[in-house]
Amino acid sequence: MVSRADTPSSTPTKKPVIETKQSVVIRFAGDSGDGMQLTGTEFTRAVAIAGNDIATFPDYPAEIRAPVGTLAGVSGYQLHFSSENIHTPGDAPDVLVVMNPAALKRSLAELPRGGMIIANSDAFTDQNLAKVGYAANPLEDGSLDGYRLFAVAMEAHCKNALAGLEGVGFKEISRSKNMWALGLMYWLFNRPVDKQLEWLTDKFKKSPAILEANLRVFKAGYAFGDTVELFHETYQVESAPMEAGTYRNVMGNQMTALGLATAAVKAGVPMFFGAYPITPASDVLHNIAKFKSYGVTTFQAEDEIAAICSAIGAAFGGVLGVTVTSGPGFALKLEAMGLAVMMELPLVIIDVQRAGPSTGLPTKTEQSDLLQALYGRNGESPLPVLAAQSPVDCFTTAIEAVRMATRYMTPIVVLTDGYIANGAEPWKLPDVEKDIAPIEVKFRTDPNGYQVYARDPQTLARAWVKPGTPKLEHRVGGLEKDFLTGMVSYDNVNHQKMVDVRADKVLRIRQDLPPSVVEGAQDGDLLVIGWGGTYGALKQSVQRMASAGKKIGHLHLRWLNPLPADLERVFARFKKVIVCELNGTSKSGGQLWRHLRAELLVPALYYTKVQGTPFTTAELTAAFEAVLRGEPAPSSLKV
């Protein structure tokens, strides 16, 4: 079905039928310059405020402005919103909003037959069609007959809406079409526009002409839906059954920053945050740079090495040292991490993972820094590693990391990834007094009997001493130190004792870990193991199969080092174990898989994927079903 309605009729037609849907997946796609990320985040805010559960997947190119109209330049934003609790941004879109032929070409394969396409027909010019290899205009040649296609001349509509407005030229008209599309989506999904108008008014309060243009175009998009006889139905997605409370819509990097600032306040210790800009981690720096009044100092260093080294220097000074980066930056920081291991100072290193190796795919997600985090330093230099599993969980994980780093006097690595860093979900706001425990940090001031490497018998942590404390002057550094006095020691037996005790200290963290929790079946045929940002997809897939009666359970690991002490007992409850992660190769297995096999001798299966995108529930379900049938897990590579 092809509908063309480039001339809106002036009189409203009969109100379309409102159809209630359980959940909808929309993908906005266009050129990098088309403002798709903004349209996506704005609409996400609208549906979140309306009480839907949400999950998002922004997917954009590494280039700020790739050549206009090309496949390489397509920027997408997928939003899944639902009246039920959801955990993934959806395998495939129901509605595709495309601003040009390249966006259509990139996304069409994933749109199921019968899905809705709303296309900006103005961009389907011969030149743009040729750029992506369309011989004929797909909006007109019947090739989209299996879909519900709405071709709309968005730029022409914007031009009409902006007619007569001073200071608005061709560029502004072309740029405003994302707001027009947003207005249309508001209409199509029955969203109240008040909040959006308020937000626009606030955002552009300093430039009245731009504000007027945005308001006009947004309203025109909405009115278009209302007045043309184009859409036969609109959709209503009811509120999701969320727990009572106050909510806000948050993204992972924002939550990492919020968690760190919260930890600083809860510890009553200032925080020093050293960072060097890197995709996709820079937003943590941007967010936390606003939190100066929470005791956080941010320092944009000259490089990744200076970023971590400045944080170590600050930690020696008795403040909470933090640094954030992504894979390549993490590699540069490794030597300094070894120094922090040796000096036994608290330090939080956050790695927002992206696809590697080398520069890799900077804007695409992956979980391939696990082995680098666990083992990537010279010498025996163990440190704790934990991973956040969702945008909201970045908050909890950041606080947990500060708590453990200070309790055990150790550098600690937090792994997040590009997917949860940029993904959004609703956050039920905690009671800041009751829900977040204080972080107890002690500084030694008593010079009596002080020895630099004397240890707390329970945690094996050495004492943290602030310079400025009289009679506790001491030196630390990268050379091996005496087991007790902290003097430089080349003694061979002492070295082995120090290596052992540094490792034992990390293992001691086990005493603070809660028992492992399996979701779905508690015993039976298959245990699915995951870690980090794959939580939502694994949970959703396992949940569905378990409710259908399959004996399948899901265990998601927060702690990668040390591993929880009860893992072997949990594994023993299932006939098979499969480790799913976004790393590794289809032939040699994933990184956690290797780690678990090395640590526990568990004969686990693996399912890995490195395509820069999250797992889909469909591929996971297919893999688990194959394993349950006794077949090998299929490859994620679509051949």
Partner: protein, 352 residues
């Protein structure tokens, strides 16, 4: 915020109590393990003599170093200290100073540590201007790794890694520092009395003080500074001891430095032969805000010119940590640390 240069608290004017400390109080229990005859001993002794005099409590002093012979320095000081990784001391020290502006932070580094692997950190430390005292031990050789040419080694240097002579063009540390907008740049010889005064002035300066110490490696590069350090015959001719607001005279006052405006070049005036030209001798002005003459001085080398010693440039501009604190104070005016406000912000909605 307390200034690091002022006594840290009235109750302890110097040291851990009310008793004035001595050089001995700054000697740690670690046995000093530099080679016999190493220039580092002289620097250590000078620093240990200086510290009791600067009015800072010992517990407020931190020595931070990188890697190299000189970087063992913090272990020998009975202060707080960090012996870190190669080249990174400026980054650690900057972080420490920003986090703890009340501390008196010293950086100990060498020509390999500061000018090779740590060149980038040195650059950015100097332009940011945190209140750090940086002692660059320049012996023009890699000593700890047993004798490879360094970034400050002269071209043609025969070393273990350059058997046919080094072809790398050497860096001039003070020209580099001035190019990085360093606010305090000075030079001294490890065994000369002038080192004490230069370090005192460095400490009094509020900002990064970069002091090149011409230091002798007795094992791998003995005599690197022979003409101006060891040879009594040439020493007077080879040293230009700079005194603020005084004429630039050397060789017992028999010679002076002039400057030709037409060619923009310095020249030597022989005042014995031409006493009438005394008026042409340049007057040293270390605090000149433009600091152009410091660049000229930093470029002078023996035998064409004497080597300038003392303070080449001293210019006060805001320190990095002060500017950080100012932003914190400004942010604090809007309220401090209300966690609920932080979390309950943005677009909120209630589910009942």
């Amino acid at each position: 915020m307390t200034s690091a240069n002022a006594p840290s608290s009235p109750s302890s004017p110097a040291g851990n109590g009310l008793v004035k400390l001595t050089r001995k109080d700054f000697q740690s229990k670690s046995e000093v393990r530099w080679c016999p005859g190493c220039g580092d001993y002289a620097v250590l002794a000078t620093v240990q003599r200086l510290l009791p005099e600067i009015g800072v409590a010992r517990e407020n002093m931190v020595f931070v170093s990188g890697i190299g012979c000189s970087s063992r320095f913090p272990y020998y000081m009975e202060t707080y200290g960090m012996h870190t990784i190669h080249g990174r001391a400026p980054a650690l020290a900057t972080g420490l100073k920003v986090a703890r502006p009340d501390l008196d932070v010293w950086v100990i580094t060498g020509d390999g540590d500061s000018l090779a692997i740590g060149g980038n950190h040195t650059l950015h430390m100097l332009r940011r201007n945190p209140n750090l005292k940086v002692l660059l031990f320049n012996n023009r050789i890699y000593g700890l790794t047993k004798g490879q040419y360094s970034p400050s080694s002269e071209q043609g240097k025969i070393s273990k890694s350059s058997p046919m002579g080094a072809i790398d063009y050497p860096i001039n540390p003070l020209q580099f520092a001035l190019g990085c907008q360093a606010s305090f740049v000075a030079r001294a010889v490890d065994v000369d009395k002038g080192l004490y005064d230069v370090l005192l002035k460095a400490h009094q300066h509020k900002g990064t003080a970069y002091v090149e110490i011409l230091q002798n490696c007795v094992v791998f590069n003995d005599g690197a500074w022979f003409d101006l350090r060891d040879n009594k015959e040439t020493k007077g001719k080879a040293q230009l001891v700079l005194v603020d607001k005084q004429p630039m005279l050397f060789d017992n006052g028999s010679k002076g430095i002039g400057f030709d405006r037409a060619t923009m070049k310095p020249f030597v005036i022989d005042l014995v032969a031409e006493p009438a030209r005394k008026g042409e001798v340049l007057i040293h002005d270390e605090t000149d805000p433009a600091g152009m003459m410091a660049h000229v001085l930093a470029g002078m080398s023996y035998p064409q010119f004497p080597v300038p010693l003392g303070v080449l440039r001293r210019h006060t501009r805001p320190t990095y940590e002060d500017m950080v604190q100012a932003q914190h104070q400004k942010a604090a005016e809007k309220g401090v640390g209300d966690l609920k406000k932080l979390i309950y912000s943005g677009d909120l909605w209630d589910v009942r």
